[in-house]
């Protein structure tokens, strides 16, 4: 199915695929995003992919709508049905110790699983990063085992530490910065998901995958120290699709 262009105000367009949340469709979103970025159309300020939409923000003093559409249209016609690009998987160490995992026991109980089984299931999936939003680096991940789903807390916590890994409904994710929130917290990563000190402030981009590697408390503190001295690098795994 060919995506459709919708003008959004006088300085943006949405390029929308079918209204569904689906990994294959999202892969096409990211392929087209890459194609648009490579095209480097003059006047385009930024391109923001999400579940099924690519938003192109432009400066109308440099390019008018009609001209932008005429430059974008040919890129939509290229067959995007298969993605040859291998999956980029960023591995994130996560400590599921009860010191960090405020809600792990309750979540295990809720889903009638042992704590070990929850950790095993949570850490054996390659989660697709559909989009980043809500907070800088907050990844909307697809692929949570339905057996791990649990509704949010009735009343959100005022402070959730940066790096906390949580579950809300059928989603899992990491809080990149300290924030209030209602997610069920099941662990914490010592990794700084975004840091202005690094050349690349963010470890991942929409379209990448994320996998959690269980670590114990000692490893957590060791990695945490290494992170502080800028001496830790998350392993990146490439996998054929």
């Amino acid at each position: 199915m060919k995506p459709v262009i919708y003008p959004e105000g006088d300085h943006a367009i949405h390029i929308r695929f079918k209204a569904q949340i689906d990994p294959a469709l999202n892969a096409r979103v990211h392929d087209l995003t890459a194609r648009l970025r490579t095209a480097a159309i003059i006047g385009v300020q930024t391109i923001i992919p999400s579940f099924r939409t690519i938003t192109v923000v432009y400066n109308p003093l440099l390019i008018k709508l009609a001209k932008l559409i005429s430059q974008v249209e040919p890129l939509l016609k290229i067959d995007l049905s298969t993605s040859a690009k291998p999956k980029k998987i960023i591995t994130i160490p996560v400590c599921y110790d009860k010191a960090f995992a405020y809600d792990l026991a309750e979540l295990a109980n809720y889903n009638k699983l042992s704590i070990d089984e929850v950790i095993k299931r949570h850490s054996q999936t390659n989660y697709l990063i559909y989009l980043l939003g809500f907070l800088p680096g907050f990844a909307y991940l697809g692929g949570l085992d339905p057996q791990l789903a649990m509704p949010r807390l009735d009343s959100p916590r005022v402070k959730i530490p940066a790096g906390s890994v949580g579950i809300a409904g059928h989603q899992t994710g990491i809080y990149p910065v300290e924030s209030p929130g209602g997610w069920r917290i099941i662990g914490r990563t010592p990794i700084e998901l975004f840091s202005m000190e690094r050349e690349q402030p963010m470890l991942y981009e929409p379209g990448d995958y994320m996998r959690f590697i269980p670590i114990d408390k000692n490893q957590y503190h060791t990695i945490s120290r290494a992170v502080k001295h800028n001496q830790y690098q998350c392993e990146i795994v490439w996998e054929e699709r």
């Binding site: 959004e8 800088p136 975004f194 929409p206």
Partner: protein, 363 residues
């Protein structure tokens, strides 16, 4: 050095045109709420139009300059005083080291802007000097200014020797109701043509829930209420979201990068400054225009901004005016009009003359 904060108001932050290129990573754009006022403030001191300025929200503050420079103040009328003497908005003002600038309450809008020639010495974070309070980044230490803060002013190389400039300005709304032009959403899955007509017939007011993230508007009835949900996608500046309760939210500079409420339309860029500065008391009506019309308006605005900046009239005869005041005071006249050879007409009104700064001049 440059500028020292003696007293700070409610919320004074450093802002430029914002952090546009990192939205895909979840960073809000931030940036000046009234871009028009920021651009004019910069033009008045011959900066590039997107140089970072101080954005002053609701109430001002007191600043001590420790370096000679040229400044301009634009946006809402904030009753600025230099060393206790009222100074004009929308004019370039020459500042000498030791001068104290006091900015008062904003009387006819929500945001004022203070530009300094050369801009402030601050690192750009992800391509922008705008302050993002929520993520504590950009601007001055990622936060609003506090008493004692010291901002360095960049050397501009043309210290104080600028021609004094003034500009015509009409960004602040005098209309009642305020007419805001908008572009209807092209996706009519959520809102039919009938709903658009309803929307355009209503008069809205800005609610108390109005901040840099967005303005929640109060609708007169629930005709826009709905039960649609949609798949989240990127938000754009000026988007008019309709949450299920039917009271629109206009998304602004500190908006979250993604949103899941249906969007009925987007405010035309040229009308955003008026909306952003609008009082809670003024009813707001939306009028539909096309993308082509909106983009022509943007072009016209850009041209107007260029031609709006003019040398101050009568500047050459400041000394003459001082002499005139002495003469007129000596003669105990209540009013006096003088026209020089260049055609500059000076009208003196002697009701509250305290010094040379209080004369009216007309060209």
């Amino acid at each position: 050095m440059g500028l020292k904060v003696i007293k700070s108001g409610v919320h004074i932050t450093v802002q430029d045109f914002g952090r546009i290129a990192h939205q895909h990573l979840g960073f809000s754009v931030a940036g000046a709420m009234d871009r028009q006022a920021l651009e004019l403030a910069n033009r008045l001191v011959q900066n590039t139009i997107d140089e970072a300025c101080l954005e002053i929200m609701l109430t001002g503050g007191t600043f001590l300059f420790t370096k000679s420079t040229v400044i301009a103040i634009t946006g809402a009328d904030c009753q600025p005083k230099l060393n206790d003497v009222s100074i004009a908005m929308y004019e370039s003002i020459i500042i000498r080291a030791g001068d104290e600038l006091a900015i008062g309450y904003l009387v006819d809008g929500r945001f004022s802007y203070l530009s300094v020639q050369g801009g402030f010495v601050l690192d750009a974070v992800l391509g922008s000097r705008s302050t993002s309070i929520r993520y504590q980044l950009g601007g001055y230490q990622g936060r609003a200014l506090q008493p004692g803060d010291q901002l360095q002013i960049r050397e501009s190389g043309q210290d104080g020797s600028l021609p004094e400039l003034t500009c015509k300005h009409d960004t602040l709304n005098k209309d009642h109701p305020l007419r805001v032009r908008y572009l209807a959403s092209a996706d009519l899955d959520y809102f039919s043509i009938g709903k658009l007509a309803d929307f355009e017939q209503m008069s809205f007011h800005i609610s108390a829930q109005a901040d840099r993230m967005g303005y929640r508007l109060i609708a007169p009835n629930d005709r826009l209420a709905h039960e649609h949900t949609m798949i989240s996608e990127a938000t754009v500046c000026g988007a008019i979201q309709i949450p299920p309760n039917g009271h629109p939210i206009v998304l602004l500079m500190d908006r979250q990068t993604t949103g899941g409420y249906p969007v009925i339309g987007v405010v035309a860029s040229v009308d955003l400054p008026k909306l952003v500065q609008c009082s809670e008391r003024v009813p707001i009506n939306f009028t539909r225009i096309t993308v082509e019309e909106a983009q022509l308006l943007i072009e016209e605005q850009a041209q107007l901004n260029q031609s709006a900046i003019k040398p101050k009239a009568g500047l050459a005869c400041v000394d003459q005016v001082k002499q005139l005041i002495e003469v007129v005071e000596g003669a105990q006249l209540s009013a006096f009009t003088y026209q020089d050879k260049k055609g500059v007409r000076i009208k003196l009104s002697m009701r509250n003359v305290k010094g040379a700064r209080n004369y009216d001049k007309k060209s």
